[in-house]
């Protein structure tokens, strides 16, 4: 078990280092000079050169990487070129919107998908299965921004239950803040739930054919108890894998959804930073997202071992 943990941790750290190199290198080779962008079109070459020196942009590549990576470790992301404030402050502010949004979406998606998967698998081939899997097919096919527009139209414009966009901030109270995150979370969650429901269903159907399901039935457990107690846990491995991958999609998905709903989140931040060539912000946010995805996948790996005792003893 310890060997398994250590191995997973080592892989996660190596991935993080590699990802940081790639992120740094890619943004370095992209065209566009942040110093020139900051000073505007009328700046002279000398002024640009001066600023480049001040920003450390003329130092050798390796040195700049080490400096940047060392800064990341001490949560010093540097200063934003355009906002002229520490990046960490920007990120902290935006994370207060994006993290709850992603977590609510993830929770919603799981809460929808697993019951639907169970329902479908236990009625395999019957009307209930066909209808719910048809709906899931639709959910996979329709893009989330379209969902978002439909949700705004129905719940904000027509029923006027929730605001159509914007974020009042957590200082305005928990309920108003949550209310404005509700529609974006649903829009993010639905396509993910559709995929997850299909995965849950097929994993369950495979498990339900196993001999130990018959053993459990022969014990006298009713079908529903067998489904929950014996089948679901064995079907969790593929479901957890997809859940881990979906977290990455949820984070990326916020870029579109936050723009649709005018939410001041990380997605909007990174979008604006890209258009303004605010490299240091882009690098920082991308690294943050990478770290989050790697951490979630590490969690998924560890949860495999919790779910399946065979992984604890075997390599």
């Amino acid at each position: 078990m310890t060997a398994y943990l250590l191995k997973r941790l080592a892989i996660a750290i190596a991935t993080l280092i590699l990802a940081s190199m790639v992120v740094f290198a890619v943004l370095e080779v992209l065209p566009g000079d942040p110093a020139r962008l900051m000073l505007g079109l009328n700046a002279s070459a000398d002024q640009v050169e001066l600023l480049r020196n001040q920003m450390g942009l003329n130092a050798p590549l390796a040195l700049r990487y080490l400096h940047w990576a060392g800064g990341l470790l001490s949560l010093d992301f540097g200063r934003s070129y355009t906002y002229s404030v520490p990046v960490i402050d920007l990120v902290r502010e935006r994370l207060a919107v994006s993290l709850p949004l992603a977590l609510i979406a993830l929770a919603l998606s799981t809460m929808i998908a697993i019951p639907v998967g169970l329902f479908s698998a236990s009625r395999r081939g019957r009307a209930g299965d066909t209808i719910s899997m048809g709906a899931a097919q639709l959910g996979v096919a329709v893009p989330n921004f379209w969902f978002a527009l439909m949700l705004i139209y129905v719940f904000a414009v027509w029923l006027q239950l929730v605001p159509a966009g914007g974020f009042p901030g957590w200082s305005a109270g928990i309920w108003p803040a949550l209310k404005s995150l509700l529609l974006p979370a649903v829009a993010l969650a639905l396509p993910q739930a559709a995929i997850l429901a299909r995965v849950t269903r097929s994993a369950l159907i495979e498990v339900l054919n196993e001999d130990y399901i018959r053993t459990a039935r022969a014990k006298g457990l009713p079908y529903r108890a067998v489904l929950w107690r014996h089948a679901l846990r064995n079907a969790m491995i593929p479901v957890l894998t997809i859940l881990g991958l979906q977290f990455a999609f949820l984070l990326a998905g916020t870029i579109i959804i936050e723009n649709v709903f005018y939410l001041p989140g990380l997605g909007r931040l990174v979008f604006q930073a890209i258009t303004q060539r605010d490299l240091i912000v882009v690098e920082s946010v991308v690294m943050l997202l990478v770290a989050a995805v790697i951490a979630v996948n590490l969690l998924v790996d560890l949860s495999y071992a919790v779910v399946d005792p065979r992984l604890r003893t075997r390599q």
Partner: protein, 540 residues
């Protein structure tokens, strides 16, 4: 008054008739043996009693258990009966337990469900039951997971689950078919004791007449969903009045006619194994430590003459399959050498092995799993031809396949069919055709008949004998079934814990075993005539 009474039971699945007017009864404390070939409806009878039939199944007739009409019972009533009054044990112990739950949880679950006992109480009863089936708490704590147990131990857990609440009826569907003979004898003893202890009725389903004869008071013989004969075990099997009963009994002790051991006169050796050892790396216990290596095969030496038929017998896990893989050059020995036709084959590259591969082929146990279902027979049987020096033309290839099919008793038109169009016995003929197409000198057969029904098995043994005579092929039969060894081999090697502990003429070793390992195998092996004789004494 019988405990279980099946009257005129007919069963269809998707309008295919499975059972036709089935009759069967089990009294309290009685062991009823249900015998039949695969597909005869034995398991479906069991599943009808449990009401765990597939969705598309329709049953008519009467099935009464303890006064309750099971076919009319609601699902709630059935749930109350299953696991409480009727227990069931299945064939495949490796997959019958939930891999993510401890054995304690799995035994206690049924107890809690039916008796509404507290967790502690149920675990206490589960612990007692595990002790009873021979899994003492010192070595087998409740916190063990199924993957930490062997097949025989897992079957004990399954029996503990089924018998935890002292059911009135236990249904055991081929409970020992997947186990070696020594484990089989232990599990059968356990079942017999449990029946005696609580006057439980036992419906024992098996294709093995000898096993059923040893266990059952009465016997029901099923064929294609119809009962052929039913009665006291001793009388039914000693008189063998019904032609099908006689056919089954004769097939299960069938010995093919072999005039004389083939080709022993030359004195030349075909295969020489010298001091071969195979170690597997031990499991990693932490980041820096490993458990000591596991020695699967330990200093084995043996030799085989051309045309000789040799049996390698031993319990599961004794290293016999590992040894066979090394002989086939599919695995490399840790030390020692293997010579085939005088040439060393250990440590050779795949290209250098080509000529040797042509002369040695293999037949596996499972005729269902060993063919790609999407390829036609022509391609499947021709597979080994790639080891020939010259690639045969398409016409030559068809000619060779046709010839091989003819030799194993199949029609040459069969080459355009797919594997699913053949029965189990025919598929095993296909595997043999595939093995002999390159005219090998040696065929290694790993449990080649243990998945087959007795009558099919007799035919396949005949085919092996015939090919040995006609083509002079030498056989290495790997088996835990001594009747197979007796039927078809000249000499026997007994393997135990990676070592060869006894070697000799088949009849000598099987009639007068010397080593402990050989004695254990011989005593545990069910023997039809011995069993009938004992039943005769008991039942008069």
């Amino acid at each position: 008054m019988s405990l279980l009474d099946i009257k005129n039971l007919s069963l269809t699945i998707d309008d295919t008739p499975i059972l036709k007017g089935m009759e069967l009864s089990v009294a309290p404390g009685e062991v009823m043996g249900l015998v039949g070939e695969s597909g005869s409806g034995k398991s479906m009878t069991a599943l009808t009693v449990m009401q765990l039939l597939p969705y598309a199944a329709r049953a008519t007739g009467r099935v009464t258990f303890d006064g309750i009409d099971l076919l009319a019972a609601t699902e709630d009533q059935m749930c109350a009966l299953r696991g409480d009054d009727i227990g069931m044990v299945f064939q495949e112990p490796m997959t019958a337990l939930n891999p993510v739950k401890t054995i304690g949880e799995q035994v206690a679950e049924g107890i809690r469900w039916h008796t509404k006992a507290s967790r502690a109480e149920a675990e206490d009863r589960a612990r007692k039951m595990l002790d009873r089936v021979g899994l003492p708490s010192a070595k087998f704590p409740m916190s063990r997971y199924p993957h930490e147990l062997s097949g025989g131990q897992r079957q004990r857990v399954v029996i503990a689950i089924a018998c935890a609440l002292k059911p009135k009826l236990l249904i055991a569907d081929e409970p020992t078919t997947a186990l070696d003979v020594v484990l089989q004898a232990q599990i059968l003893d356990l079942l017999r004791d449990l029946v005696a202890e609580s006057r439980m009725g036992l419906l024992l389903i098996s294709h093995d007449l000898a096993v059923v004869t040893e266990m059952a008071d009465r016997i029901t013989i099923l064929r294609r969903g119809e009962v052929m004969e039913t009665g006291d075990t001793a009388r039914t099997l000693s008189e063998q009045l019904h032609p099908f009963t006689r056919q089954l009994a004769q097939a299960s002790i069938h010995v093919p006619a072999r005039s004389k051991p083939h080709g022993l006169e030359t004195g030349r050796s075909l295969l020489q194994v010298e001091g071969v050892t195979r170690d597997y790396a031990g499991r990693r216990t932490s980041l820096f430590r490993r458990a000591p290596d596991i020695r699967a095969v330990d200093q084995v030496s043996l030799s085989m003459a051309p045309g000789q038929s040799l049996a390698l017998v031993g319990r599961s896990g004794c290293g016999k399959s590992t040894l066979a893989r090394m002989i086939l050059a599919l695995d490399r020995p840790s030390s020692g050498t293997i010579r085939f036709r005088g040439e060393t084959i250990t440590g050779k590259s795949e290209a250098e092995l080509k000529p040797a591969r042509r002369d040695m082929q293999v037949v596996f146990q499972d005729p269902y799993g060993s063919f790609d279902p999407r390829q036609k027979v022509e391609k499947l049987v021709a597979e080994p031809l790639h080891v020939l020096d010259k690639k045969p033309t398409r016409a030559e290839r068809r000619e060779m396949v046709a010839h091989a099919l003819h030799e194993v008793g199949l029609d040459q038109r069969d080459m355009d069919k797919y594997p699913h169009e053949f029965s189990g016995g025919q598929r095993q003929r296909l595997s043999i055709a595939r093995a002999i197409i390159t005219r090998p000198k040696l065929v290694v057969a790993d449990e080649p008949v243990s998945a087959l029904d007795v009558s099919i098995r007799a035919q396949i043994l005949d085919l092996f004998a015939e090919l040995n005579q006609k083509l002079g092929i030498a056989y290495l039969f790997i088996t835990h079934d001594l009747t197979v060894a007796r039927a078809i081999t000249d000499e026997v090697l007994v393997m135990h814990d990676g070592k060869i502990v006894e070697r000799g003429k088949t009849s000598d070793v099987l009639d007068h075993p010397q080593s402990e390992a050989a004695k254990a195998l011989v005593t545990a092996a069910p023997d039809l005539y011995r069993a009938i004789a004992r039943r005769m004494r008991e039942q008069g």
